[in-house]
């Protein structure tokens, strides 16, 4: 766990003056990330462990004043465990989409498609009442109520997502970025329309019931009311995925992504096969999205097409870019804010999409690098801005 927050290669040798002395709004910079990453292992380890234990303890948080963050204080508030679960699911989505948008610099507006593929594959193969399992059972003479066990559904879902990521990416990743955005948006919408129209496979708008739960240590451990258990499951998956993605970011692949994002032509000259690595980013992002989708479907025990409307895709993008694309912590912060705030302040729930729209425009215009960007990304933006100003001064 020690390398959960390992410094990015450039964080200790930042020569640029900007962003050093003062941070946002001209306040002095605390450099928490710096101080943390410079601390010795015996300091970092307990911090990580305390953080993780606190996250696991959250469902039972009951000490005032901290308990005010709970969403179920007033009657009619959302179930706290359920909200925590959803936050973690969206955090998984955010780190997945951060790979695509933040690291590789590809704007994917159809991420909901991969989320839906994850959800639908666990439903189609895992539910005894889905048309797919019924057909398989029929063909091979298996007993009534046969279904693929949950554990086997997970690799199926991930494989399908990887395959669809490659299928979508192969023809489109050679296109320029803005075309890619539109095509991926089309993909997300096609997945939804398919799940609605191909009734013989997906049950259409009726949806599929009986999506399986993960293997349970005891009876009813993962029942609908035990939201805290679901939260712990999702949290464990999230921690594992953070660990894996962090390793990936610091690897050869991660450096290739950054190089492509900053200048594709220069990267190609340096021998980076841009297409190959973009395809990797797409496929890995897809797999992460599918993981989130399958957990979500499993908890709901039910999937239906309207749950995968394109608006959710925009919401996912909003999480990543508001939080700070390119920085996993930023993306997760975005996911937290966008999921938690509307649940905590339910009286404003109808205002949610409007507020996101305003927030997206405001953050992008005032602080295009996001709330907590990666340092490299922030410098990229500052460089571009300086270039523009110099050009203006020359003219």
């Amino acid at each position: 766990m020690s390398d959960l927050n390992e410094p990015t290669p450039d964080s200790t040798t930042d020569p640029s003056p900007q962003g050093r002395a003062t941070g946002a709004f001209g306040l002095p910079r605390l450099n928490i990330a710096d101080r943390y990453s410079k601390a010795p292992l015996w300091v970092r380890m307990p911090i990580v462990l305390i953080g993780i234990s606190f996250a696991f303890y959250l469902p039972f948080l009951n000490i005032l004043p901290f308990a005010y963050i709970r969403t179920d204080l007033t009657s009619g508030g959302s179930d706290w465990g359920g909200v925590l679960f959803l936050i973690v699911i969206y955090m998984i989505v955010a780190i997945g989409l951060n790979v695509v948008i933040g690291l590789a610099g590809l704007l994917d507006l159809g991420y909901i498609g991969f989320y839906a593929i994850g959800a639908y594959s666990v439903a189609l193969f895992g539910s005894p009442s889905s048309p797919v399992t019924e057909m398989i059972a029929d063909k091979f003479g298996l007993s009534e109520g046969w279904a693929v066990p949950f554990v086997a559904c997970v690799p199926i879902a991930i494989a399908l997502a990887l395959a669809s990521g490659v299928l979508l990416g192969a023809p489109t990743l050679r296109l320029r970025g803005d075309y890619l955005a539109i095509v991926t948006m089309g993909f997300g919408e096609i997945i939804r329309i398919l799940s609605r129209n191909v009734t013989s496979v997906t049950n259409g708008s009726a949806g599929i019931i009986g999506v399986p739960s993960p293997p349970e240590p005891s009876e009813n451990f993962f029942s609908a009311i035990e939201t805290a258990h679901w939260y712990w499951l999702a949290l464990s998956v999230l921690i594992l995925l953070i660990f894996l993605t962090r390793r990936l970011e610091d690897s050869r692949v991660g450096r290739a992504w950054l190089a492509i994002r900053e200048d594709e032509d220069a990267a190609a000259v340096m021998g980076v096969n841009a297409f190959k690595f973009k395809l990797w980013a797409f496929a890995i992002g897809a797999a992460l999205g599918a993981t989130a989708g399958l957990l979500f479907a499993s908890k709901q025990a039910y999937v239906e097409p309207t749950g995968f409307a394109l608006n959710l895709s925009f919401l996912f993008v909003a999480m990543v870019v508001i939080g700070g694309s390119g920085n996993m912590v930023g993306a997760m912060l975005g996911a937290f804010l966008i999921t938690y705030l509307p649940e905590r302040f339910r009286e404003f729930q109808d205002w949610r999409p409007f507020a996101f729209g305003v927030a997206m425009v405001a953050v992008m215009v005032l602080r295009p690098q996001g709330l907590i960007p990666s340092r490299r990304r922030a410098r990229e933006f500052a460089d571009r801005k300086n270039e523009a100003e110099e050009a203006a001064a020359d003219a």
């Binding site: 993909f187 329309i193 729209g357 295009p368």
Partner: protein, 321 residues
């Protein structure tokens, strides 16, 4: 799969496709012009169209025009709606440029950021009609579809074989084509249009030659917005309906039309729009109307894969003559 349905009603389907296609083409002009000059997809353009349809509803309500109205009133209401929708849409397009794009252009932000602010603007506009205005004024704003009864009565003008041509279809196709001819003349013949073409060809050289880039960009947004407003009027005349999120699907189709014809190419937008309209109507006849919306996406992906420059080729600067 029902090819008989297509063959039997081929003429009627083609006419229907041309009617839809001319609306797509008008909206596509906005995408194409902005792309030609700025090299970016104005994602909020679909909402500019949506504002146009609501303005038409507003004009009808204020004037009290409905299907019972007398002929002079019908003409007056339609013309007023035309002007009002064009003005409203153009102002929204201009506002989007000022609020969301100009500050970013000054910062030389990467193209991705423009797309994200545009999505933000789009969300805001959708929600203004879907929620904010409802809080203040109640119905008809909100998430339910709203009827926009056009004062123009549909009647058959002439019948060729078993194809009935209605006055509404003629009005829409002629109206759209007229607007596009006017725009084409403006861009190719007028002084301001020369500025637009100059910036599209080479912004730096154009600036050296004394073309004010900011003004050209504003002009492009205004022109594209006005076209989308007119498209809003034609859309309500044909479909008698609007909705807070109606822009999304029309926007996708119009964008597909623009790419199909060659983005940045004004005449390409017309060709692409008409073609897409026809393909879509044929496809929904053969399969079912459930699949009509998928057609546009599939066409888009195919075009991008095999001929990304579109049928008539890219570039506003080069597409002249």
């Amino acid at each position: 799969m029902d090819f008989n349905a297509l063959i039997d009603g081929l003429g009627g389907h083609t006419l229907d496709g041309l009617t839809r296609g001319s609306i797509y083409a008008l909206v596509a002009l906005g995408y194409t012009m902005v792309y030609g000059v700025l090299r970016l997809i104005n994602f909020a353009h679909s909402e500019v169209f949506m504002v146009g349809t609501w303005t038409v509803l507003g004009v009808y309500t204020v004037l009290g025009a409905d299907s019972e109205s007398a002929m002079p009133m019908v003409i007056f209401a339609t013309l007023t709606a035309l002007v009002a929708a064009a003005l409203a849409s153009a102002s929204v397009a201009l506002a989007v440029e000022r609020i969301a794009y100009r500050p970013l252009r000054k910062k030389n932000a990467p193209p991705l950021i423009f797309l994200i602010t545009a999505i933000g603007c789009s969300l805001v506009l959708v929600e203004i009609f879907g929620h904010v205005l409802k809080v203040f004024f109640g119905a008809p704003f909100g998430r339910a579809p709203v009827n926009v009864p056009s004062p123009i009565q549909t009647h058959t003008l002439l019948t060729i074989g078993d194809v009935r041509i209605t006055n509404v279809q003629v009005f829409i196709i002629l109206g759209a084509v007229l607007m596009m001819v006017a725009l084409d003349l403006f861009v190719n013949r007028s002084r301001l249009g020369r500025g637009v073409r100059a910036v599209a060809q080479d912004p730096d050289t154009a600036a050296l030659m004394g073309v004010n880039q900011d003004r050209v960009i504003m002009l492009v947004f205004i022109l594209g917005g006005a076209m989308a407003g007119v498209a809003g009027l034609l859309f309500t005349i044909n479909f008698d309906i609007t909705k807070f999120d109606i822009g999304f699907i029309i926007g996708i189709k119009a964008f597909t039309a623009a790419v199909l014809g060659g983005i940045g190419n004004l005449r390409g937008a017309l060709v692409g729009g008409l073609l897409l309209g026809i393909v879509e109507v044929y496809a929904s006849a053969v399969f079912s109307s459930n699949w009509a919306d998928v057609t546009a996406f599939i066409v888009l992906v195919l075009v991008l894969m095999f001929r990304p420059t579109g049928l008539l080729g890219e570039s506003l600067g080069k597409a002249r003559a």
